[in-house]
Amino acid sequence: MAEPGSSAARKSSRAVVLVSALLPVLLLAGILYSFLVRGTGINLPPPAPIENLEFERIVLRPGEIRAHVINTGPEPVTIAQVQVGFLNRASWEFEVAPDPTIARLGRAVVSIPYPWTPGEPYEIVLITANSLIFTHEIEVAAETPLANPAMLGRFALLGVYVGVLPVFLGIGWLPFLRSLSRRWYFFLLSLTTGLLVFLGVDALEEALENSADVPGPYQGVAVILIGVSLSLAGLYAVSNWLKQRKQSTESGAGLLLAYTIAFGIGVHNLGEGLAIGGAYALGAVPMGTMLVLGFTLHNLTEGVAVVAPVVQHHFRWSHLLWLGLLAGAPTIAGTLLGAFAYTALWAVLFLAVGAGAVFQVVIEITRYQVQQGGAASLTSGFSLAGFALGLAVMYVTGLFVIV
C-alpha cells in the first residue's frame, strides 16, 4: 500500500465529513432566508384574528383592581375596553401600563379604579380592539398583602410553621432513633423512603396542577420534565464530585446522604411555600389554623427523613442545625416570594426540581441500605412495613391539608 495515497484518501474523506456536516446547516440557512424574504407560499389568512391574553396575577388594592397579563398569542394585542363583572358586567375606566398594545409574550398591568368590596366575587373582562374577550374570575375579593414589615413577618412565620418547625421537631427524635436496633434502623430507612416517594409524587402532582396556570408558550409540563431531570442529574454530579474529593468514610457517606436529603426537601419546600403563598395571594386559600396545623404535621416526618442516614454515626452537633435549616428555611423564601411575587411558572419549576431531588434521594437511600445490609434487607418484613407506614403517615397527615 502506498503511504501518500492513503493519507490523501484520509484527507479527502475528512473533507467529505466536514462538508456533509456543514451542508444541511447551510441549506437550512438558505431555506429560512428564502422563507423570510419570499414567504412560504401557504397564504391562508385566519378566518378570525387569533389573540390570546392570559392572567398571571391579580392585585387588589382599596378602590383598585390590578390585573397582570401576558400576551401569549401570535400577534400583538390591543386592550380597548375593560368590564368588571359583578351581578352584571359593567364597562369601567382603566389604564394599561406600559401600553395598551402588548407585543407577543409582552406583559402589561391593567389597573381598574373599581370600588370592590371584600368577600364578593368579581370577573375581570378584557376586550381587545378586534372584539375578542378574555376573562378572569376572582372567587373571593380580599386585599392583596402589602410587602410591609408586618405582612412580611406574617408570611415568614407561615414559612417557619410549615417548613422550619416541623423539620426541627423531627430531628428532635434523633436520640430516640439512636436507641433503635439494626432491624429497626432498616425499618426507619424504609419509612423514610416511603415518606420521600409520597413527597415526590405529591410534588409532581402539585407541579402538574400548577402547570395548568403557566402561560401556554412556557410549556408547563416541559418545565416539569426539565426541572426533574436537571435536579436528578445535578445532584448525582455534585454528590459524585464530593465523594471523590473527600476521604470516603462511612460516617462521611451518611452525612453526605443526609445533606442531599436536606437539599432535596429544601427545594421541595421552596416550591411548596411558593404554592401556598401564591394561593393565598390569589385569594384561593384561607390560611386558617387547621391548614397550618396540617402542614406542620405533614412535614414533621421530613426531619426524620433528614437524620435517618446518620442515626448510627457520630458527628458534630452543629450539622443538625445546618441540616434543619437547609431542609426547612427555603419554605420561608417560598411563602414570601409566593405571596408578593407569585407566578405559576416559578412554582412549577421549584416543585419539579424538588421532586427530582427527592427521587434522587430515594435511589441513594436504597443504595445506602443495600450497602449496609445487603439487597435482602430491602424486602425484609421490617423494611416493607416501614415503607408502608411511611406512605400511610403521609396520606393521613395529608388529609389535614386541604388546598
Binding site: 352584571n88 364597562s91 375606566e93 373582562v125 375578542l132 418547625l165 386558617g288
Partner: protein, 348 residues
C-alpha cells in the same frame, strides 16, 4: 458531643413555636372558619354587609380620558330627516347592504358589522302617511338578504319570502301607512344573525296633518354580543356604546323635544330620562299622549315617541333603566344650555 445538638434543636423549635403563637392574634377566627362551613358562611355574609366599602378612586365616574373617546366625526347623528311632503308624493331611498364593514361598537373595539349604507343602525327613513315609498335594495354582500318593513302593505312587499341574491337589486314599493314609527330590518335566515350583525333601522311615517314642529331626535336601542354566547357585551343608543356620553347632545332650556325611540334587541329595554318626565305616544300611532312618565318598558321591536322639555339647564343622563344595559353603553348626556345662551354646539 451528641447531646447538645438535639437539645438545641428542640429549644429552637419550641422557641419559634411559642414566639409564633404570640405573634399571630386572630387565628382563632380562622380556625372557626375552617371548622364549620355554616359558621364560615355566616362570617362571610356579615363581612360583606357590615364592612365599609373600600374607598373610591377619587375619579369622577363616566369621565373618560380624551384618548379613549369616540371621535366626534364618528358619532351617529341623532337628528332624523325633516318632515314634509315628498315631491310628486313619491319618497325614494336606496339601501346598500355590505358585510363585514368595520364598526367601532365601543371606543377602540371594532366588530365586522353587516350594514345598510355602512352605518349601524341604518339611516332613518321618513315619509308622510299616504305617500308612495320606493326603496331600492342593492345587495353587495356574499349571502342573500331582504328588507322586511313593519306597517301595512301587500304580502309581496313584506320582504320575507323573496331573497335578494348577492349582486342583485330589488325595489320595494308600498304606501306609507299607518303613521307611526315602523322598524325595518333584514329577514334572511338566520334572522337573528342578520339583525344582530347590524341590519336594522327606523322608519318614521308622519301623520298627514303633521305634528307640531319641535327639535327631533331618533334613537335606536340595540346591543352587540361579541363572543356570541347569548349575552351582549355592549348596549348602545344608535349603534355605538357611550357615544353620547363622550359627545353629549346639546339642548336648550325650555326647547320642546320629540324623541323617536325604538328597541330592536331581543331583550326588553327601558328608556329613562333624568330630571324630567315625558309625554308618551306608544308606537307613535296616536296624536294624544297616553301617559306622563319617566320610564317606559319597550319590549322587543316596540317603539314610542317621547315629548319633553327641560326647565332647568345642566347635564342630564338619558339611559336604559336596565342597569346592565346602562353600564355597558346604553347611556348618554343631554347638555341643556341656558336659554340666554346661543346654543351653537349642537351634536350635528
Amino acid at each position: 458531643m451528641k447531646t447538645p445538638g438535639w437539645i438545641l434543636a428542640i429549644v429552637l423549635a419550641l422557641g419559634a413555636l411559642t414566639a409564633g403563637l404570640w405573634l399571630l392574634p386572630g387565628q382563632r377566627v380562622a380556625a372557626q372558619r375552617q371548622l364549620t362551613p355554616a359558621a364560615a358562611d355566616a362570617v362571610q355574609n356579615q363581612h360583606a354587609r357590615h364592612l365599609q366599602p373600600t374607598k373610591g378612586s377619587k375619579r369622577y365616574q363616566y369621565k373618560t380620558p380624551a384618548a379613549r373617546r369616540f371621535d366626534p366625526s364618528q358619532v351617529f347623528d341623532p337628528t332624523p330627516p325633516p318632515p314634509g311632503p315628498a315631491p310628486n308624493g313619491v319618497r325614494e331611498y336606496t339601501l346598500v347592504i355590505e358585510e363585514d364593514v368595520p364598526h367601532e361598537v365601543a371606543p377602540g373595539v371594532t366588530v365586522p358589522a353587516w350594514t345598510f349604507n355602512r352605518t349601524v343602525p341604518g339611516p332613518v327613513l321618513r315619509a308622510t302617511e299616504g305617500e308612495l315609498v320606493r326603496i331600492t335594495l342593492v345587495n353587495k354582500g356574499k349571502v342573500p338578504h331582504t328588507i322586511h318593513f313593519h306597517g301595512i302593505h301587500p304580502a309581496n312587499m313584506d320582504g320575507v319570502f323573496e331573497l335578494v341574491s348577492p349582486g342583485e337589486t330589488f325595489t320595494y314599493e308600498f304606501i306609507a301607512q299607518p303613521y307611526g314609527i315602523m322598524p325595518y330590518h333584514c329577514h334572511s335566515m338566520p334572522t337573528s344573525q342578520h339583525i344582530h350583525n347590524g341590519l336594522y333601522g327606523m322608519m318614521i311615517f308622519d301623520p298627514k296633518e303633521g305634528r307640531p314642529p319641535m327639535r327631533e331626535l331618533a334613537m335606536v336601542m340595540s346591543a352587540f354580543d361579541l363572543d356570541r354566547d347569548g349575552e351582549a357585551e355592549f348596549y348602545a343608543w344608535n349603534g355605538r356604546a357611550f357615544q353620547y356620553a363622550d359627545n353629549p347632545i346639546a339642548l336648550r332650556q325650555g326647547e320642546p323635544v320629540r324623541m323617536y325611540v325604538m328597541n330592536i334587541f331581543e331583550e326588553a329595554m327601558v328608556p329613562h330620562l333624568h330630571g324630567n318626565l315625558f309625554r308618551l305616544y306608544p308606537s307613535g300611532t296616536t296624536m294624544t299622549p297616553t301617559e306622563y312618565t319617566d320610564v317606559k318598558t319597550l319590549s322587543i321591536a316596540e317603539r314610542a315617541i317621547l315629548e319633553f322639555q327641560y326647565d332647568y339647564p345642566g347635564t342630564y343622563m338619558f339611559q336604559c333603566h336596565v342597569t346592565e344595559h346602562m353600564e355597558q353603553g346604553l347611556m348618554g348626556w343631554f347638555n341643556v344650555l341656558e336659554n340666554v345662551e346661543t346654543a351653537q354646539s349642537r351634536c350635528d
